[in-house]
C-alpha cells in the first residue's frame, strides 16, 4: 500500500538573507528579503518568518515594494522573470517574463512606471523621489541622467593614489543632493549638479575603511552610513558635525534600508544577519540566518541535547542551528574577546569542536596564527549548565600543543565514570585529557592532561574511539596504532601502504569489531580487530567517511570527475545498502548524520538506513547549495490514509462513470488543508480516527455501494459500517436490491449530511 518514496536530495535552507537590500513594508511590520530562490517575509517585531514566497527558479536578485499598492511587492531573479506578490498573504499575483538572461536588478520605482535597469557592471543606480533623474556610479564616475534633459556626468579625479572609487550612493528625497560613499571611507554630498561645471561637493569623514552603504531617511533629515567597522552612523543633514553612533552591531554592514515612514531602519550584515533598529538608534530585533564564514573549520556536529547542527559561525563563535526550523538557535562565544572590525587583522578562530555523547561537555580549540610569530592555541572545555541551559566555560588550556591540532574526539562511552578527550597535533604527540575532581587551587572539577603519547615521531592525523570506549585508534601517516585508554598501552599497529590515512572510523553496534580507514591513495580498508588482519579493501577515492551513531551503517562520499557519489554500506556486508551516483556537483566537504525526532518504519531495503537518522552534507559551493538533506518521503499516518483513498478512487474511476472528480496532482494540498485548518473547526478526533481505521481495512464489497453514493456518502458509509457491524449481514443482503436504507441508517445519513465536510471532500477527491 505504501508508495516507495525515492531518496532524494533536498535543499534545506541556510541560504543568504543579506544578498540584497532588505525592504521594510509601509507599516514597518514586515521585512522582505531575497533569500536564495525565494523571498522571505519576516515580522520585524517577532523575528519570525511569516511567509516564504517561492516561485523563482534561480537566485532572486532584488525585491521592491509596489509604489502604487503598498501591499504588493516586485521581485526579480536571475531566471529572467519579475514577479508581483501579495506579501501579506504570500500569494503570487503576476509573472512578467523578461527576455534577457542577464541578472535583473530593479533599483527604483518612479511614480508612474516600473523602471528596470539591466545591471551588468553598474555599481549603483538610484533615482530621486520626484523621478526627475537617475544617478549611477561606476568606478570613478558619477553619472546623472535627467529624464527631460540629457545625460550629465561628474568625474572624481583619482589624485595621488587616493582611493576615491564610488561604493554606494543615495539621493536626497527633497533636495537636489546625492550622497556617495567611497572606498577611502569618505562620504561626499554632491549639490548643484544640474548646471554644467558648477557642481559642488562637501566631504564627511568618519569611517576608516570603505563605506558600504549610505541612505537618507524618508524625511531627508538624517543620513545613515555603515561599513566594515560595523558601526551605524547617523549624520544630521546640514549639521554634519552632529552624529549618533550605534557601535558593535556584530559584523560589517552591507546594506541599510529605511522604512517608508522612517520609524525603523534595517541593516544587513556580512554574517547573514538582519538587524532592525528603531529610529532612536536602538536595536529592536535581530534575524540571524546560518552564518557561513570563509570555510567551515570545525566539522559539522549535532548537539546531543538540542539536536541542533553545530558549526563555527561568526568569528570566534560556535553557532547552534536548528535543522527543523532553519533558524539559528544561539551563538556560543568561544573566544570571549572584543572583535576588532578591521580587515587584514588576524583573529582567533574556532577550528575544532567536539561533543561528548550526552552533551554534557563541549571541547573547542581556537587558534590564531600571526605571520612571523608563534601559533596561539587554546583548548577550552565547556560544561553544560542545566540552570542557564547553555554551556559554561570550565577549563582553558592555553597552548595544549606546540603545533596545530589535527584531530580531537571524546570517548564515546555512555556509562563510564571518567570522561576522556584525546587531541592529536602536528607536533607529533597526542594527549589524553581527563576530568579531575579536586585540586587545592581550583574549585570543582577541571580537566588536566593524563597522558602524552607519540609513535616514531610521526604526525598523528586522525583519532577515533571505539563504540565502547575500550580502544583508541590513532593514525600516524600510513600506520594505524591501536591503544588501550585504560592502561595507555600500544596494543597493535595496522598499516596498508602506500598512502597516508585520511579518515578513520570504528564500526558500531554489530560491526564494532571492524575499523575502517581511507587512504590518500584511493583505498578503503576494513580491518578486523579480533584477528588484527585486513578484512577487505576496495579501491575508491573516498573523500569523506562517516558512521551513523545510531546504526551500524557507514556513509562514504567518493568524488570523481567533478561529481560526488554516495555509498552507504555495512562493514560486514560486501554489497552496499545504497548508492547514489552524482549526488551533487563538486566535492562534499562536510557531512553529518542527524538523528530523526521520530523513527520511521520504512521496510524498503534501500531506504532503511534513513529510518533513524538523516544525512546532511555541505558542498563546496556553499553559496548556491548550502545545506542539503538526503531524505525519503515522509511516511505518516496521513500519507497512509491518502494513499489508500487515492488508490481506491483510482479503482473506482476505472469502473464507475462518475468522472466528475478531478484528481488533484498531489495529496499535499489536502494534507496542508487538514493541517492548516484550526483545531476547533475540525471534526472530533474520534471521528477522524474511526475513518482512518476503516481506511486500513480492505473494502472490496462496498465498491458497488460506493459507486452510487457521493463522496460524502462514501464517508458516511465508513461511519455506518463502524456503527452497525452487527447489521452487516442484512446490509449485504440488501446490496443487490434497490438501496433501501434502514431507519437507523437513514438517520445516520441525515446527521452526517448536516455536518460540514467540505474539507473532507477535497481530501477524498484527491
Amino acid at each position: 500500500m505504501v508508495e516507495h518514496g525515492d531518496i532524494r536530495v533536498v535543499h534545506r535552507g541556510g541560504s543568504k538573507i543579506n544578498f540584497r537590500e532588505p525592504v521594510l513594508s509601509h507599516d514597518s511590520r514586515l521585512l522582505l528579503c531575497a533569500s536564495g530562490e525565494c523571498v522571505k517575509v519576516f515580522s520585524s517585531s517577532t523575528e519570525e518568518c511569516v511567509h516564504d514566497l517561492q516561485g523563482h527558479t534561480d537566485l532572486v536578485t532584488g525585491v521592491l515594494l509596489n509604489p502604487s499598492n503598498h501591499l504588493q511587492a516586485y521581485s526579480c531573479s536571475a531566471d529572467g522573470t519579475v514577479r508581483l506578490w501579495d506579501f501579506t498573504d504570500g500569494i503570487l499575483i503576476k509573472v512578467q517574463l523578461h527576455c534577457h538572461h542577464v541578472s535583473v536588478q530593479p533599483l527604483s520605482v518612479s511614480v508612474f512606471s516600473l523602471l528596470m535597469c539591466m545591471c551588468v557592471t553598474l555599481t549603483r543606480l538610484l533615482s530621486s523621489s520626484q523621478g526627475e533623474y537617475i544617478a549611477s556610479a561606476k568606478g570613478l564616475h558619477l553619472e546623472v541622467y535627467f529624464f527631460k534633459k540629457q545625460k550629465f556626468s561628474l568625474k572624481e579625479d583619482n589624485k595621488k593614489g587616493a582611493k576615491n572609487t564610488f561604493t554606494c550612493l543615495s539621493c536626497h528625497p527633497k533636495d537636489d543632493c546625492i550622497a556617495t560613499g567611497h572606498e577611502d571611507g569618505k562620504i561626499r554630498l554632491w549639490r548643484n549638479f544640474n548646471h554644467k561645471r558648477e557642481y559642488t561637493y562637501s566631504t564627511l569623514h568618519w569611517h576608516h575603511s570603505a563605506v558600504s552603504s549610505v541612505r537618507f531617511t524618508p524625511e531627508g533629515t538624517n543620513l545613515l552610513s555603515g561599513g566594515v567597522e560595523s558601526v551605524l552612523v547617523q549624520w544630521r543633514y546640514n549639521q554634519e558635525t552632529q552624529k549618533d553612533f550605534l557601535p558593535r552591531l556584530g559584523a560589517a554592514i552591507t546594506h541599510i534600508a529605511v522604512s517608508p515612514d522612517g520609524e525603523l531602519f534595517c541593516t544587513a550584515h556580512s554574517d547573514n544577519k538582519l538587524t532592525v533598529i528603531q529610529s532612536c538608534v536602538k536595536v529592536s530585533a535581530v534575524i540571524q540566518g546560518l552564518v557561513k564564514g570563509e570555510s567551515v573549520r570545525t566539522d559539522l556536529m549535532v548537539d546531543p541535547r538540542s539536536k541542533a547542527l553545530v558549526l563555527n559561525g561568526k568569528p570566534g563563535h560556535l553557532q547552534f542551528y536548528s535543522l527543523q526550523r532553519d533558524k539559528q538557535l544561539y551563538n556560543l562565544d568561544i573566544v570571549q574577546q572584543e572583535y576588532i572590525h578591521e580587515s587584514g587583522l588576524q583573529q582567533f578562530e574556532v577550528v575544532k569542536a567536539a561533543f561528548d555523547t550526552r552533551g554534557n561537555w563541549l571541547a573547542t580549540v581556537e587558534e590564531r596564527k600571526q605571520k612571523d610569530s608563534t601559533l596561539e592555541l587554546n583548548l577550552k572545555l565547556w560544561a553544560y549548565d542545566e540552570q542557564t541551559q547553555s554551556f559554561v566555560l570550565n577549563t582553558t588550556v592555553s597552548g595544549p600543543h606546540e603545533a596545530r591540532i589535527t584531530a580531537m574526539c571524546f570517548c564515546h562511552t555512555a556509562d563510564s565514570q571518567t570522561t576522556m578527550l584525546v587531541s592529536a597535533s602536528q607536533d607529533g604527540h597526542f594527549k589524553a585529557w581527563q576530568l579531575e575532581s579536586n585540586h587545592y587551587f581550583y574549585e570543582g572539577p577541571f580537566w588536566s592532561c593524563d597522558f602524552v603519547g607519540a609513535y616514531h615521531s610521526l604526525v598523528p592525523e586522525c583519532c577515533c574511539f571505539s563504540a565502547d570506549g575500550s580502544l583508541l585508534a590513532i593514525s600516524f601517516q600510513e600506520v594505524v596504532t591501536v591503544w588501550s585508554p585504560a592502561s595507555w598501552e600500544l596494543l597493535t599497529t595496522l598499516s596498508q601502504p602506500p598512502g597516508a590515512i585520511r579518515d578513520l572510523c570504528f564500526g558500531r553496534q554489530s560491526c564494532s569489531k571492524y575499523l575502517l580507514g581511507t587512504t590518500a591513495k584511493n583505498l578503503l580498508c576494513c580491518w578486523n580487530l579480533l584477528t588484527c588482519t585486513l578484512e577487505w579493501s576496495t579501491s575508491m577515492d573516498v573523500s569523506l567517511l562517516l558512521s551513523d551513531p545510531l546504526s551500524e551503517n557507514m556513509a562514504a562520499f567518493c568524488s570523481h570527475a567533478g561529481c560526488t557519489d554516495l555509498f552507504v554500506f555495512k562493514p560486514s556486508e560486501p554489497r552496499p545498502l545504497f548508492s547514489h551516483k552524482a549526488i551533487c556537483s563538486g566535492k562534499v566537504t562536510r557531512a553529518v548524520f542527524a538523528p530523526r525526532e521520530e523513527m520511521l518504519e520504512s521496510c524498503e531495503e534501500s531506504s532503511q538506513w534513513l529510518n533513524r537518522s538523516q544525512l546532511y552534507f555541505l558542498t563546496q559551493y556553499m553559496v548556491n547549495i548550502p545545506l542539503v538533506i538526503d531524505d525519503s518521503v515522509a511516511v505518516t499516518p496521513f500519507y497512509l490514509l491518502l494513499g489508500k483513498h487515492r488508490q481506491q478512487q483510482q479503482e473506482k474511476q476505472d469502473r464507475s462513470f462518475s468522472a466528475e472528480r478531478n484528481q488533484l496532482p498531489q495529496g499535499s494540498v489536502a494534507i496542508k488543508e487538514l493541517l492548516h485548518t484550526p483545531a476547533h473547526v475540525l471534526p472530533s478526533a474520534s471521528f477522524l480516527c474511526s475513518m482512518f481505521v476503516r481506511s486500513l481495512l480492505i473494502s472490496e464489497k462496498k465498491s458497488e455501494e460506493e459507486e452510487m453514493e457521493s463522496d460524502k456518502e462514501e464517508e458516511s458509509e465508513c461511519e455506518m459500517e463502524a456503527s452497525t457491524m452487527g447489521q452487516g449481514q442484512t446490509a449485504e443482503a440488501q446490496e443487490t436490491a434497490a438501496p433501501a436504507l434502514t431507519k437507523a441508517q437513514a438517520r445516520e445519513l441525515r446527521r452526517v449530511k448536516k455536518l460540514d465536510h467540505s474539507w473532507l471532500s477535497s481530501l477524498l477527491d484527491s
Binding site: 550605534l246 590564531r368 602524552v452 603519547g453 596494543l491 588482519t533 585486513l534
Partner: protein
C-alpha cells in the same frame, strides 16, 4: 548590540607552596621582634605559670622577658663564664642554670643572687632540670656524668657515669619523679631510674644527640642529633618508631606545639620545620637569617621565640583575631547596609509601569581606554606602578590585547625617557618569566626596532638596555644547561625503560627494512 568585552586576564596558578590549614595557622604571626643578645642564644625556656615569662640563656647571662616586653624583666649576670640551660621549676619560682665553670646555680626568680651553688662536676655543665617532685635537680656535664642533687641540702644524691662522651641534653619526666633521660655525644640515649643505680634503657640514635623531647603522655620520646629526628616508643622498650631526615644540617632543638599535634624542629640550616605528629610529614617551614640554636613555643602557640648563633633573639607573636578583622575592615570600607536596601523593598503597585534601569558595565581603566581605541593611554594605565609590580599579568594581558589588535607598535612608540625606562624596567623584571615570555619577546623586539635610532642619547635608557642584554645572556646560558640536562635524562630513561615489542599484523611489515626501523623503542610514554 553586544556590550564591550573586557580584556581577559590570564589566571596563573600561584607558584610555590600550597595553602593548607597549617600554612594559614603558622603564617598567622606578626612580623618578628628582634633583640640582640651578647652571644649565641643557647637555650629558651618558658615559665609554666602565667604570664609565661621566658628565660633566655645567652653567653654569661640569663634574661627573663615578659610576654610582650622587648626589654628584659630580669637579668641574672652572676656567672663567671658562659651560662647554659636556664630552666624554670614547674611552679615558676626557681630557675636553675649550668655554667662553663662546672658550678650549677639555683636562683629565685625574684632575687638576684644565687640561692644555692652545686659544686661537684669537673667540667662544664650543659644540662640542668628539675624533677617533677620539685626537690631535686638533674644535671649533666661534659665530664660524662649526670647527677641528681637535693635542693634543700644542696648535696649530691647520685651520680651516673655510664655515658662515654659529653652529655648535652637531658629531660626529666613530668609524671614520675624518679625517671629522667639523658642524651650524649656517644650517640646513645639512656633512661635512668633514680631508685636503681644504673640506666634501665639504652637507645642508639646513631648520631651525637643534641636535643630530647618527651610527649605529654610520656609514651613517646623524640631525639634530635645530626640531621636526624627520631621518635622512640618507650612503652615498647625503646623501639624506634620513625626517623625523619628533613634538615640538611644538625638539628639543634625540638619543641611541641601546645595541642601536641605538631612537632617543631630547629636546625643549623636556619630552618624551623613543623611536622604533623600523626604521619610525621612536614606541614610548614620557617626560614631564619642565621643558624638556630634554640627554640621556644609559648603556651597556646602565642609566640615563637628563636635564638640564633649570631646572638639575635627573634620573637614572633600571634596575630589576635581582632587585629586581623580590623585590618580587613579598614581595607574594605563600604557604604552602610541601608544604602543598598534603599528602595529595593518597594513593592510596585498594580498600575505601576516598571522601567528597568540599564545596568552599567564596570570596566577597568585600561579597558576604558581600549574601548576608545586609545592604545598608548591603555598601555600607560597598565604600566602604572602598582599594576606593574603587583599584577604583572594585567600588564602582559594588555600588551597581548594590543598585539592582537595590531596596534602594539603604535602604543609602544613615542615615549619619552621616563616612559621608556619604565617600560624597559618592566621587561627586565618579567621577560624571562616563562608565563609571559611568548608575549613579551615580540614586544621587546618591537621596542628595540622603534628606539634603535635614539640609543646612546639617554644614559638612563642605556643602563636599562644593558641590563636587558645581561639578562638575556644569562638566560641563554641557563637554557643551554637545561638542554644538556634534558639530554642526559633522556639517555638515562631510554636505557632504563624495558623494551617492549609491539605485535604487528603480518601484512603491515612486508620487508626487513621496516623492521630495522621498528627496533628503536617504539612508544615513549611520557608522564606529565
Amino acid at each position: 548590540m553586544a556590550s564591550f568585552k573586557p580584556t581577559k586576564i590570564q589566571v596563573y596558578p600561584k607558584l610555590g607552596e600550597k595553602v593548607t590549614q597549617d600554612t594559614l595557622y603558622w603564617k598567622n604571626y606578626k612580623a618578628p621582634v628582634q633583640i640582640k643578645e651578647f652571644g649565641a642564644v643557647t637555650n629558651i625556656d618558658f615559665s609554666p605559670v602565667a604570664p609565661h615569662n621566658y628565660a633566655v640563656t645567652a653567653f654569661t647571662r640569663i634574661h627573663i622577658y615578659g610576654p610582650f616586653s622587648q626589654e628584659p624583666v630580669k637579668s641574672f649576670t652572676r656567672f663567671k663564664d658562659t651560662a647554659y640551660c636556664g630552666r624554670f621549676r614547674s611552679d615558676g619560682q626557681l630557675l636553675v642554670a649550668g655554667c662553663e665553670d662546672s658550678v650549677v646555680r639555683l636562683f629565685d626568680v625574684s632575687g638576684k643572687v644565687a640561692l644555692r651553688m652545686f659544686k661537684g662536676h669537673t667540667k662544664a655543665v650543659r644540662v640542668t632540670d628539675f624533677t617533677s617532685d620539685r626537690y631535686h635537680i638533674l644535671t649533666g656535664s661534659d665530664d660524662y656524668t649526670c647527677r641528681l642533687w637535693d635542693i634543700p641540702n644542696s648535696t649530691e644524691l647520685t651520680s651516673y657515669q655510664e655515658h662515654t662522651d659529653y652529655i648535652r641534653c637531658g629531660i626529666t619526666s613530668k609524671l614520675n619523679r624518679d625517671l629522667f633521660i639523658t642524651g650524649s655525644y656517644d650517640h646513645t640515649l639512656k633512661l635512668f631510674d633514680a631508685r636503681v643505680n644504673k640506666s634501665v634503657m639504652t637507645m642508639d640514635h646513631g648520631q651525637p644527640v643534641e636535643s630530647l623531647l618527651l610527649y605529654p603522655s610520656e609514651g613517646l620520646l623524640v631525639s634530635a642529633g645530626g640531621r636526624y629526628v627520631k621518635v622512640w616508643d618507650l612503652l615498647k622498650g625503646g623501639q624506634p618508631l620513625v626517623s625523619l631526615k628533613n634538615h640538611h644540617k644538625t638539628v639543634t632543638c625540638l619543641c611541641l606545639s601546645s595541642n601536641g599535634q605538631r612537632l617543631l624542629s630547629a636546625s643549623l640550616d636556619r630552618h624551623v620545620k613543623v611536622y604533623n605528629t600523626t604521619n610525621y610529614k612536614v606541614v610548614h617551614n620557617f626560614d631564619y637569617a642565621a643558624s638556630i640554636l634554640s627554640l621556644g613555643l609559648a603556651p597556646d602557640d602565642e609566640s615563637i621565640v628563636v635564638g640564633m648563633t649570631n646572638g639575635i633573639l627573634s620573637i614572633k607573636h600571634r596575630k589576635s583575631s581582632e587585629e586581623t578583622k580590623e585590618i580587613s575592615g579598614q581595607q574594605k570600607r563600604r557604604p552602610a547596609y541601608r544604602v543598598f536596601v534603599k528602595g529595593k523593598n518597594y513593592v510596585p503597585k498594580q498600575d505601576d509601569y516598571l522601567v528597568s534601569k540599564p545596568v552599567k558595565q564596570h570596566l577597568a581603566k585600561y579597558d576604558k581606554q581600549l574601548k576608545r581605541f586609545n592604545v598608548s593611554k591603555a598601555l600607560d594605565t597598565a604600566l602604572e606602578t602598582w599594576t606593574r609590580f603587583r599584577k604583572p599579568e594585567i600588564t602582559v594581558a594588555v600588551i597581548k590585547e594590543l598585539d592582537r589588535r595590531g596596534t602594539l607598535k603604535n602604543a609602544l612608540a613615542g615615549r619619552d625617557e621616563r616612559g621608556l625606562s619604565q617600560l624597559l624596567n618592566f621587561l627586565v623584571g618579567n621577560l624571562v618569566d616563562p608565563r609571559f615570555a611568548p608575549v613579551l619577546v615580540p614586544a621587546t623586539e618591537m621596542i628595540l626596532d622603534i628606539y634603535q635610532s635614539v640609543i646612546g642619547q639617554s644614559p638612563v635608557v642605556d643602563v636599562q638596555l644593558q641590563r636587558l642584554q645581561d639578562l638575556l645572556e644569562r638566560e641563554i646560558g641557563y637554557q643551554q644547561d637545561l638542554l644538556e640536562v634534558l639530554g642526559m635524562l633522556d639517555t638515562m630513561f631510554t636505557s632504563s625503560l624495558p623494551r617492549k615489542e609491539v605485535p604487528c599484523s603480518g601484512i603491515s611489515r612486508p620487508n626487513g627494512l621496516a623492521q630495522g626501523d621498528a627496533s628503536a623503542p617504539g612508544p615513549q610514554p611520557q608522564a606529565t
